[in-house]
Amino acid sequence: MIKAVPKPLEEVIGRVQDFNKVLIAGCDGCVTVCEAGGLKEAKILASALRLYFTQAGKQAQVDDISLTRQCEKEYLAQLSDKIDGYDAVVSLACGCGVQYLAEMYDNKLIFPGVDTCFLGVNEERGLYSERCQACGRCILAETGGICPIARCSKRMLNGPCGGSEAGKCEINPEIPCGWQLIYERLKTLGQLDRFENPVEPKDWKSSRDGGPRKIVREDLRI
C-alpha cells in the first residue's frame, strides 16, 4: 500500500492560519492503514488546529471528515454539499487523493496534510518499508521475489556493488543490501545460475521516465 507520514503541525498551521473555516478531510484507504491520514488522524489534527486558533485568540471553525477513498470521484462527491462552506481543505490522503480532490473542486484551496512516501509494507505497527517503485514491468520472477529497483540504493540490475558490507548497504548500515537478499534467495531456490547471466539494460519507458502514466483496460470499460 501507499505509505505516508503526517506533515509537521507547524507546516499545516502555516497554510491555514489566515482562514476562518477549515475542513480536514481524511481518507479511509492506505493512509488509514499507516495511521497518517484516516478519520482518527483527521480528528487529532482538527483538535490541534482548534487549540491553535483558540490560543491565538481567533474565532475559527475547524471540522473533520473522512472519505471512503479520495482517489475516486464517487467518494469525493461526499463533499459536494459541504465544501462551499469552507475557505480551505486540508486533505490527509496521499498525493493522488489531494490532486483528485483539487481537480474535482477546482475553485477551492486544497492543502496536503501528509507527505506521501512510497509503496511499502507494514513490518510492524509504525514501521513501514519500501518494496515497489511501480516501474510498470515486474521482474520479480527473475530476482527471487526481491526487487532490486526498490531495494538496491543504486537500482542495479546486476548487483551487488562493491560497497555492500556484511549484508548491509553502503549508504546506511540499517538498510539490508537488496542484492545480498536476492543472492541468498536464489541460492535457497536453487536458481543461482540466474545470478551469473548479465541482465540487459532495462526499458524504463513503463516507469516514471516515460512521462505520466495511464492504464486503459478496454476489457473493463465495455
Binding site: 540504493s153 543504486k154 558490507e165 549484508g167 553502503e170 548479465p198 540487459e200
Partner: protein, 312 residues
C-alpha cells in the same frame, strides 16, 4: 578476445606485469593539476586512470582530463560511473573519448551520492556497471548504439571494470560477480585495495579454478597507507574495504614520522607477495593524493623501467 590499439592491452598480452595508477582531477578548472600529477608517474606506469567524480564529489570531468593526458602522449583509462549520466550521455562520452584515441574504459556504477558534496541531487543509474560494459562491447564489436543506430567509426575500447573480493557476503559470490562481468565483455579488472591477503588469494584461486583468469586480466589494487589514522579510517569507515587488525597494529607500531615509510614498505611487500600468485597480470597503484610515491614503489618492486612495446 577483441584486440584494440590499447597499450595496456598490448602490455598484458605480451606477458608483462602491467602497472597502472590513477590521478584524481581537482575540484576546480585547473587543468595543470592533472598534468602535474601525470608527469610525476608517467614513466613508471603503462596507463593512467582518471577517476570520475570519485566518492560523489564534483570535480573536473574525467573525459576532459583523459583528453589532456592523451594530448600529452600518455595512455589514459577513462573511468565512467553510471550514477550521473544516462545511456545517451554515457554513449556520447564514449564516442567523444574514442574520437581522441582514448582506448581504455573502466565501467563503474559509482558510489552513492550520499557520500559526496551534493547529497541532495537526483541520481541516474539508468545502467549499472555490467550493463555499461555490455554497451561498450556492442558499440565496439557491432558498431551499434543501444537505441539501434548503426555507425561506421567504432570506439576501440579495452573494457575494464572493478572487482571487490572483500565485500559481502562471501568470496564465492564475488567470483560469480566477476564471472558475470566477464560474460558482459570485461577484459581487465582493477581490484579494490588489498589488505587482507588471505581473502584475496582465495578469490584468485577460485577465479583461476573457474577459468576466469584466462578471459580477464586481474590487476591487483594497492593503496599505500600514509599513517595509522588512514589505516583506522579505512578499516572503520570505508565501505567494502577489509583492513585486518595486524595492518593497523603494524602502522601504529612505528613512530609517527616513520609511518609513511612503513606504509610504502607494506605496499612493496604486498606487490612482491602477489607477483607470484597465479592469475595476477599486474598492479593498479592507487596512491590517493600521494602520487609522488608511485615511482618509488614501482622501482622498489623491480617493475621499472617499464618494458617497451614493439611499434609503440
Amino acid at each position: 578476445m577483441t584486440t584494440t590499439p590499447s597499450k595496456l592491452q598490448k602490455m598484458i598480452a605480451a606477458g608483462h606485469l602491467a602497472v597502472t595508477s590513477e590521478v584524481g582531477p581537482p575540484r576546480s578548472a585547473d587543468g595543470q593539476v592533472i598534468e602535474h600529477k601525470a608527469k610525476m608517474i608517467k614513466d613508471y606506469v603503462d596507463a593512467i586512470n582518471v577517476t570520475d567524480n570519485q566518492t560523489s564529489v564534483c570535480r573536473l570531468c574525467s573525459l576532459a582530463a583523459c583528453i589532456r593526458l592523451k594530448l600529452m602522449g600518455l595512455e589514459p583509462v577513462l573511468q565512467m560511473v553510471t550514477r550521473d549520466r544516462n545511456r545517451i550521455a554515457l554513449q556520447s562520452d564514449i564516442l567523444g573519448a574514442a574520437s581522441f584515441g582514448i582506448n581504455n574504459i573502466l565501467c563503474l556504477t559509482g558510489d552513492h551520492q550520499h557520500f559526496g558534496d551534493h547529497p541532495n541531487c537526483a541520481n541516474v543509474f539508468d545502467l549499472d556497471s555490467t550493463q555499461l560494459a555490455l554497451t561498450v562491447r556492442m558499440m565496439r564489436d557491432e558498431g551499434k548504439l543501444l537505441g539501434g543506430h548503426e555507425f561506421e567509426v567504432r570506439p576501440q575500447m579495452y573494457i575494464g571494470a572493478a572487482a571487490n573480493p572483500f565485500a559481502g557476503p562471501n568470496v564465492e559470490m564475488r567470483v560469480a560477480r566477476l564471472a558475470k562481468k566477464v560474460a558482459a565483455g570485461v577484459q581487465f579488472v582493477q581490484t579494490q585495495c588489498i589488505y587482507n591477503m588471505d581473502t584475496f588469494k582465495t578469490f584468485m584461486k577460485m577465479s583461476v579454478d573457474r577459468g576466469l583468469t584466462e578471459k580477464v586480466a586481474i590487476l591487483a589494487g594497492i593503496t599505500p597507507m600514509k599513517n595509522v589514522g588512514m589505516a583506522r579510517y579505512m578499516q572503520k569507515r570505508v565501505p567494502g574495504i577489509d583492513v585486518p587488525d595486524e595492518i593497523v597494529k603494524r602502522m601504529g607500531g612505528v613512530p609517527k614520522e616513520k609511518q609513511a615509510e612503513e606504509g610504502i614498505n607494506l605496499a612493496v611487500e604486498q606487490i612482491e607477495e602477489l607477483k607470484g600468485v597465479p592469475g595476477i597480470r599486474g598492479f593498479h597503484i592507487m596512491a590517493i593524493e600521494w602520487e609522488e610515491k608511485v615511482p618509488e614503489i614501482v622501482e622498489r618492486v623491480g617493475l621499472y623501467p617499464r618494458p617497451k612495446l614493439n611499434g609503440g
